[in-house]
């Protein structure tokens, strides 16, 4: 058996793979790990999204992978370039936790749920069905996405391993 090739996706980063590669991102807290999969061509993509909208960016050179509204179109474009068909894509996602549960006026405290909402909105706008998710609550997650099968593995300290 050929050993899986792991491809790291960093924070505010995205990547695509075919040919049996496995995409992996570690330590998702309020960030969302969003995956897209073309099962026909076995092409997978993953983005580690940090913030809901690029409207708030004060960055000189915008990193599209960082924001939900820019990461998903960028991921689509990258997947298309290696042969994925947009119409056959399905999405999954994990993360978007609220790591610390205390009330505060600060809106960034609610960033996890807002990231999840923003991802759903952009998927809807692009007509990509969201077929599975493990989001919210108050714990961190590490995810692995298998391009061979489209399986999304979600690992956490408190709740073991889930398959999506």
């Amino acid at each position: 058996m050929i050993q899986d090739t792991y491809i790291k996706v960093g924070m505010a980063d995205l990547n695509v793979t075919g040919a049996g590669g496995v995409l992996k991102t570690t330590g998702l807290g309020s960030c969302v790990g969003l995956t897209l999969y073309d099962s026909l061509n076995k092409i997978a993509g993953m983005a580690h999204i940090m913030l809901p909208s690029s409207d708030i960016s004060r960055d000189e050179s915008l990193n599209p992978a960082k924001y939900a509204d820019t990461a998903v179109p960028e991921l689509l474009a990258r997947m298309e370039r290696i042969g994925a068909r947009i119409r056959s894509l399905e999405a999954k996602m994990a993360g978007g936790a609220q790591m610390f549960a205390f009330a505060s006026q600060n809106e960034t405290m609610r960033i996890g749920p807002r990231n999840v909402e923003a991802c759903k909105e952009i998927l809807k706008r692009l007509n990509i069905p969201l077929i599975a998710e493990d989001t919210g609550s108050n714990y961190g997650r590490t995810i692995e996405f298998y391009s061979e099968t489209g399986l999304l593995l979600v690992r956490s300290v408190q709740h073991g391993v889930k398959e999506l």
């Binding site: 570690t26 330590g27 807290g29 913030l51 960082k66 610390f100 205390f102």
Partner: protein, 205 residues
Amino acid sequence: MASRKLFAELQLDALREVGNIGAGHAATALSRLLNKPIDMKVPSVDMVPFEEISEKVGGPEEVVIAIFLRVEGDATGNMFFILDQTSARSILRRLVGLEWSGEDEWTEMEWSALHEIGNILAGSYLSSLADLTGLHLTPSVPGLAFDMAGAILSYGILQFGVMGDHALLIETAFLEEREDIGGFCFFIPDPDSFEKLFQALGVPV
């Protein structure tokens, strides 16, 4: 502000002093609580790439205990005390005589004691910083987590997310000589707070 704003040497010195005084008081408080000398490393101050912040405590998947506080008032920011599991158990045993059952789970009693320790350490860090700067700084109620370092620390750098891929980290490690207690203290002032901090410290902006 540029995404990778370079601070002048004088400004970095001032921030290092913030770390020195704040963490110094926190270490003293811990030392009094445990009735043991606690050593502190020279604080480091740097613009650190997001990816590397959790490397400081063993990597994004390293399981740690974190006490988190939002700093409110004149100069806002985020503060973390990070302990590994052994250190946290050891502090609990010596401070309140709680023996570890060997289970990975934390009891309500242990959890509330850790909350209180976080409160005391952060309180002493912040009050010394407020004295130094004359700024009004108050900590929120501490939040506690036992989870992956990456998931925890990413929370503290969101304010920097809109400006770039680096965050300014004032980091101090403290440890007890020959014993099994060690930890980190991270203070991450919000980008909007630098000007106020520098002004209060008398450093040219």
